[in-house]
Symmetry: C2
Subunit: 322 residues, 2 copies
């Protein structure tokens, strides 16, 4: 009966002709032969946090991963692993949140799957989403495509998602409320491509491990060095204070609505202006540059002016942040 109820809930919320066919697969006609595919499992704890919930995150997270190569996200699949006894009303809230998030992104949830595990063998709810998008441009945007002298642009202030989730999980209260930045970035990406074209070399959203992890991945994949100016990195003052109290470096804390781009020097001003004209990039800033020297290494000029290595965060500082 539970299964039947859940099935009806999903069909009611995600109602569309492809899903409604209720086959075990979705049949899709695409406008392009070049597609981008991304998958992500969401195990965030707690399920509801300031500024969002797991449903919204499961849509935005995958939409963003698809978008980071410049693709236009179109379709999502959704797989639910539900712990026996999980509140049907919470599930409904989350499913409605997914529906609204998908609608806001212009993506359709075309097929899905539900599994129920015994009590104590899961943790309320895990959601996997896989996204498919089509690629309209003919150049490569990839983490392995950074070039020496590229400019590193960050789309806005950092560490809000991680701090919002942590504060909810640990029952912390700060003077100013900090809300997750969870948001879709595919429109911002399209604006950037329109402005910068093949001057956009790489884009990535700094989620788990934060800006530090993403920059290290990019430096390593592209065999280049990256230099970052700490004071150029936007951090809300409440977030900076919270990080100080918790002993966390904001550069290590997860974001869910920000991106880092590596852009050719010739395109940087145009791309930055286009980003700032878009709501998701209003606080975009140039935070550093790419060097041929020190391949694989990220260096940070601290607020005090000295240089230090900005390492990959050791271990997982904040588990189950997404």
């Amino acid at each position: 009966m539970m299964h039947d109820l859940i099935g009806r809930l999903f069909r009611w919320a995600f109602d569309n002709p492809t899903l409604n066919r209720m086959d075990d697969q979705a049949v899709l006609a695409l406008d392009s032969n070049r597609i981008a595919v991304s998958t992500d499992s969401f195990v965030i704890d707690p399920l509801f946090f300031p500024g969002g919930d797991i449903g919204e995150l499961a849509v935005y997270g995958t939409v963003n991963d698809v978008a980071m190569c410049g693709a236009k996200p179109l379709y999502l699949t959704a797989g639910f692993i539900i712990e026996e006894g999980f509140s049907l009303s919470d599930l409904q809230t989350i499913v409605v949140s997914m529906r609204d998030a998908a609608h806001a992104c212009g993506v359709t949830i075309v097929t899905g799957d539900t599994k129920v595990v015994n009590k104590g063998k899961g943790d309320k709810l895990f959601i996997n989403t896989t996204g498919i998008g089509i690629i309209g441009h003919d150049f490569v945007i990839s983490g392995s495509n950074l070039q020496p002298d590229d400019v590193i642009i960050l789309s806005g202030s950092i560490a809000e998602h991680g701090i919002a989730v942590l504060s909810k999980r640990e029952g912390l209260t700060f003077e100013t409320s900090i809300v997750s930045d969870a948001a879709p970035l595919h429109e911002l990406v399209q604006v950037m491509i329109a402005a910068g074209g093949n001057g956009i070399h790489a884009m990535r959203d700094p989620t788990r491990g934060g800006v530090a992890a993403t920059l290290n991945e990019l430096a390593s994949s592209s065999h280049v060095g990256i230099r970052v100016i700490e004071k150029a990195v936007p951090v809300q003052s409440a977030v900076a204070s919270a990080c100080g109290l918790l002993g966390l470096d904001p550069l290590h804390v997860a974001n869910e609505g920000k991106l880092i781009a590596a852009v050719s020097p010739a395109s940087a001003d145009r791309v930055l202006a286009a980003m700032r004209a878009h709501p998701r990039g209003a606080n975009a800033a140039i935070i550093g540059s790419v060097t041929a020297a020190d391949p694989g290494r990220v260096q940070l000029q601290t607020i005090l002016g000295s240089w230090r290595i900005l390492d990959m965060p050791v271990g997982e500082q904040l588990p189950r942040i997404c």
Copy 2:
């Protein structure tokens, strides 16, 4: 460190140029604009069972769901939710099993994701796979496309997967060992399409809930009746005995390497002959037919000759079977 080890394990096992790019999305060039997409989360307990393991199942299960609309499966994504403390050596065995299964199916695992949850918040390992295939034919194969007078063909003997998993889980031993039928069906599907063309109206693999659940879904989606002859349904004698001992109806027990097809009467003989000539369809049999009467209802002529309603299994008889 654990994370790093796991990342290396996946890259070593699934090694291919798309995955190796290590971006958060896979970029794929397709030979067709019409694609099939399917997603499935695998939560099977135990992870290793007679005839297979969760890794193999996660590949075959999704390959089969993609194939059931006649598509040629090409790509898989893989999402892992690992419980803290899960044996790295078991994980390696499973990952190698996925690699071998994917290789056997001619599909590439192009992108993935790993999440680790605290001990007691998962159950060793859950795997989500999402599959993408291309569709080369121009007619519709769908569970909502059954026509009156269609012939119902079953590709082989039933209930082996469910009984194999249950026997392992419950520590049961039978005189004859029963192994899961887990196997990929995409080649059998292509053989069937070559033989039957648009005479193939629907295909579906009877997994959770077995043949009974699948026939009920098909009857309901297509607003037709289905009549099945029980003695025409192939069941291995060891499986029949085990079902008898356990009080299970083999028609309700899960399969992972069988399909049911609804085929026009004119194509049925050709399709059946083609199936029997293929190893995965050697024991294929006509088990029933479609009627305009009694829409949504499946009726079974029992071994004794009387007719009864073959209902959807009530509840989930065998949880975590896939």
